[in-house]
Structures are given as structure tokens and as C-alpha cells.
């Protein structure tokens, strides 16, 4: 009783329970928090993914699927492997982080969003590279 009474009388010092993080605009999550895998693009709509498929191999449960193609590089005239679609199934992801550790070009990283529930499971399958995006020049495997 003395313990609960103490906390009851001093409840203005801080509640024991924690609030749901409704303050989405101001809340700063820890930078390492694993919310979902994203592929950052720069202002020219360029990403760093070379399509080496190391993330796909590292993934324990087939969450990542890469559809790639060989296209002729206009500068060198050689055929080069380029990604068409980097598909990420969030519904299958266990957030183990092995894909991000495996990526040699830092093309994918963690996003810190924490509200991943949806009404339709098809929306959990995401294409990480934006439409019309290109490989950032200078990124080699």
C-alpha cells in the first residue's frame, strides 16, 4: 500500500504507464530502429542498387525478389546488369537486418516507421525502386 500510495500521491512526477506514440510529427525514433526496408533515392531519382542480388541471397525467407535485366550501357557500350524491380514483401519480413548488412553499395536501409498494419495484405508488397529511377553514376559493385 505504501508503494502504490506514494505513486498515487506523486503521480504528477510521471505516470507509470506509457502513452501510445500519437505524436508522429515530433517523435524521433532511434536511428537503428527496424521499421521496414526502403531504398533511398536522390533528387535526380537515382538509387544505388546495382542488382547484385546479395540481399536476395541473404534473406532467410524470400522477402526480397529482384527482377533484373542486362542493358547496354551507352557510355561503355558493354552490357550491364540493371534492376527492373526490387520487390519487398513486408508481410514476410522478420526484420533480421541481414539484407542491409549484405548490401555492398548501401542501396537499402531501414526506415523508422512503426505503424505497419494495413487493411489489405497486397499493399504490403512494395516495389522499392521508384518508377523511372536509374542507377546513380559511379556506383560499382
Amino acid at each position: 500500500m505504501s508503494v502504490t500510495g506514494k505513486y498515487f500521491l506523486h503521480s504528477q512526477k510521471g505516470a507509470i504507464t506509457q502513452q501510445y506514440p500519437d505524436n508522429r510529427e515530433t517523435l524521433k525514433m532511434f536511428e537503428r530502429f527496424r521499421g521496414e526496408v526502403v531504398m533511398p533515392h536522390d533528387e535526380n531519382n537515382e538509387h544505388r542498387c546495382t542488382g547484385c542480388q546479395k540481399c536476395e541471397l541473404a534473406c532467410p525467407n524470400g522477402t526480397i525478389e529482384i527482377i533484373w535485366d542486362r542493358q547496354v550501357d551507352p557510355e561503355t557500350g558493354k552490357k550491364k546488369k540493371l534492376i527492373e524491380k526490387h520487390i519487398y514483401h513486408l508481410g514476410m519480413c522478420t526484420m533480421c537486418g541481414l539484407c542491409i548488412e549484405a548490401c555492398p553499395t548501401d542501396a537499402i536501409k531501414w526506415a523508422q516507421n512503426y505503424e505497419n498494419s494495413v487493411y489489405d495484405r497486397t499493399t504490403l508488397t512494395r516495389v522499392l525502386n521508384k518508377p523511372g529511377s536509374k542507377l546513380m553514376p559511379g556506383v560499382e559493385e
Partner: protein
């Protein structure tokens, strides 16, 4: 006179009752088939398999790096220690010596995991015997450990922070500061736990002399962890076969000889103090150095059999790998502490009441995904 005739005419007979699989007091999908006479328990038969995910079979498919994250999902309350077990087994097989920094960080994180796990157990323990308040106090303190894990490992429950050869990334710059804050905070809060629950007369009456387990039975049922130590069976793997940096620290093995529910309760409370002392001894002098040694991208273990055991919050977790020299294990067996501890539930509950069953089951600290795997 009249009442006695009524009693003589009243014939009781045994009947079955299902406790679970969806029952608030079983902490998961555990189904108990109870044979009871009135309210006295005649037999307890656990029925398993409701959360079986064939983790051992999945391990045969995965590479050694990928196996680690599956162990998070066995005993999710001591996930870091489970990760450590697999990593140590693989490292021993490859004969890799990890840097001292890795060993110390692994030990600190393991002990923090133990505190968090016992903390949650304490809250739930109180709730099982009807003291709802404990849950909130336990979660307040556990929240601080979860924040430490979230900042350093990136997740609050299924960390997957250990990899064969070291750690996934170095500790966060705030780690040491936060751990010290937590230890200072928790040292003032743990005595409150005693005031709230341990010294409570009703609670003591519910626990003392209930769920008796002798030392001989504890050994023959394969009990480990706080369940074994509550019966005076010295079985702490950290003491007997120290791993990581546990040989560098001094701590007492929490032992009680009473063998009842209250002894198991006291062991866990003392273990929280001991874990805090281990963390305190290590936190100030984390050695400098690398946080991992580079391993091959494809890890192939030499042909043979490898065994590693660690002390999780629930007891002895054994990882037994049979390798044929390929990149996947031929067979991987987990000796989980929860399974053996569950096996003695029938032994300690028979003759007691249903209310006592719930209380003594809470002191076994079962995590069902650990039992089913």
C-alpha cells in the same frame, strides 16, 4: 447430523477440464488437460503443438547466419542469449576467437536480457496470483531496457544482434550512459518489488509449501535454471561452464533448498541483483577493439558434431549441430529449458488445487514458443 448425511450421499467423481489453449493464465497457446476431483488436481497433461513452427527443420534449410534470427522466436524473452548460443556453437566449430570487446558486450546484453525477462516474469507472476499492480511496475522498468536494446540493436524483442563472428554493429554511443542510468534506477526500484509482493502475507501464503519439488526430482526431470536452483540443484551454466566474459566476473549462484514456489520466486529476484552486479562489473571497462571478426560470406562448418550450452533466463539452452561440411547443418537440435521444466508440472501440481496450479505454473516461467519451437 443432517449435514453429514448430505455429505455422505454427495458422491464426487473425476472429470476432465481443458485449460487453454487460449487461457489468460497459460501465457501462450498451451493446452492443459486436467483430471480433477472437485477442485483437487489428479493429473495434468500438457498438450503441445499449437505454436509449432518447425524451427529445427527450417534450420536445416538456412545458412548459419540465417539460423540466428530464428532463435529469437523460440524464447523471445531471452532472445539475445539464444542468439549467443548459436553464434558460440558456430564459432567453436570454426575455432574463431572473437575479440574481448564482443565477449563483454555479449555478456552485458545477455544479463540485461535476463533482467528484462525476470522483470516481466515478476509482473506476470503477481498477475497470476491476483495482484494486478505488479504488471505496471514491472513494465515501467523493463521499458528502460527495451529502449537500450532499441537504440543499440534496432529492435525491442527480436534483436538478432549477434552474428557468427561477433556483433552486427557496434554499441550505440549512448549505450554505456543508458545502462548506468538503468542500473541506478533499478537499484531503487527492486526493493519496492519486495515491499509490493515478496513481503505480502497473502502472496507468501499462496507460495510457501506449494508446488514442492525435491532436488532428486529436479535432477531426474531435467530441470534447469531457476526451477532447478529453487530446489537446491546447482545448475547454473554461467558458473559451471562459463562462456563469453562470464569467467571474468564474480557473482553468486542464487540457490534455495526449500523447493517450493516461493523458493523459485526468490531465486529469480536474487538473480536480478546478481545480473545487475555482473553488468556493473563490466560496463565501465568495455575493451576497445573490433566488434566482429570477418568470416567467409558462406560459412561451412567442418564435418562433425558440436554442442554449446548457455544459461538463458529460463535455464539451460543447448544447441547441438551435426554438420556434414556443407553450408547448412545436417541436423540442428535445440535443448530448450522450457520443455523439461514443463514436464515436471504434473509432478508438482498433483494433489493441489487449480489455483495452486496457476501459481506454481507461473513460477516455472514457461514460454510456449520455446517449448514447441
Amino acid at each position: 447430523m443432517e449435514t453429514s448425511t448430505v455429505n455422505n450421499n454427495f458422491k464426487s467423481e473425476e472429470y476432465f477440464i481443458n485449460m487453454g489453449p487460449q487461457h489468460p493464465a497459460t501465457h501462450g497457446v498451451l493446452r492443459l488437460l486436467l483430471t480433477i476431483d472437485g477442485e483437487t488436481i489428479k493429473k495434468v497433461e500438457p498438450d503441445l503443438g499449437y505454436i509449432h513452427r518447425s524451427i529445427e527443420k527450417m534450420c536445416e534449410r538456412d545458412s548459419y547466419q540465417q539460423i540466428v534470427h530464428l532463435t529469437d522466436r523460440m524464447d523471445y524473452l531471452s532472445s539475445n542469449i539464444n542468439n549467443e548460443a548459436v553464434c558460440l556453437a558456430v564459432e567453436n566449430a570454426l575455432q574463431i576467437e572473437v575479440p574481448d570487446r564482443v565477449k563483454v558486450i555479449r555478456t552485458i546484453i545477455g544479463e540485461l536480457t535476463r533482467i528484462a525477462s525476470h522483470n516481466l516474469w515478476w509482473g506476470v507472476m503477481g498477475m497470476d496470483v491476483g495482484a494486478l499492480t505488479t504488471y505496471f511496475y514491472a513494465f515501467r522498468d523493463r521499458e528502460m531496457i527495451n529502449d537500450i536494446f532499441e537504440e543499440t540493436c534496432g529492435a525491442r524483442l527480436t534483436m538478432n544482434y549477434n552474428i557468427p563472428g561477433g556483433l552486427m554493429f557496434d554499441i550505440h554511443p549512448n549505450f554505456v550512459k543508458r545502462v548506468k542510468e538503468f542500473i541506478a534506477h533499478f537499484k531503487t526500484k527492486l526493493p519496492e518489488y519486495d515491499t509490493l509482493l515478496t513481503n505480502n502475507v497473502i502472496f507468501q501464503k499462496r507460495m510457501r509449501g506449494v508446488g514442492m519439488l525435491s532436488k532428486e526430482d529436479a535432477i531426474s526431470y531435467g530441470a534447469s535454471g531457476p526451477v532447478g536452483r529453487g530446489s537446491g540443484y546447482s545448475c547454473d551454466v554461467r558458473k559451471l561452464h562459463p562462456y563469453s566474459a562470464l569467467d571474468k566476473v564474480t557473482f553468486n549462484e542464487a540457490l534455495r533448498t526449500e523447493g517450493d514456489s516461493f523458493a523459485r520466486y526468490e531465486v529469480r529476484i536474487q538473480e536480478m541483483w546478481e545480473s545487475m552486479s555482473i553488468v556493473e562489473q563490466l560496463i565501465d571497462n568495455i575493451p576497445e577493439g573490433d566488434y566482429k571478426v570477418e568470416t567467409n560470406a558462406v560459412i561451412k562448418l567442418p564435418k562433425g558434431e558440436f554442442y554449446q550450452k548457455v544459461e538463458t533466463a529460463r535455464g539451460e539452452l543447448g544447441v547441438y549441430i551435426i554438420s556434414t561440411g556443407t553450408k547448412n547443418p545436417y541436423r540442428l537440435k535445440f535443448r530448450s529449458p522450457g520443455f523439461s521444466n514443463l514436464s515436471l508440472l504434473n509432478h508438482i501440481a498433483v494433489g493441489g488445487k487449480i489455483g495452486d496450479l496457476v501459481a506454481s505454473m507461473a513460477t516455472l516461467d514457461l514460454v510456449i514458443p520455446d517449448i514447441d519451437r
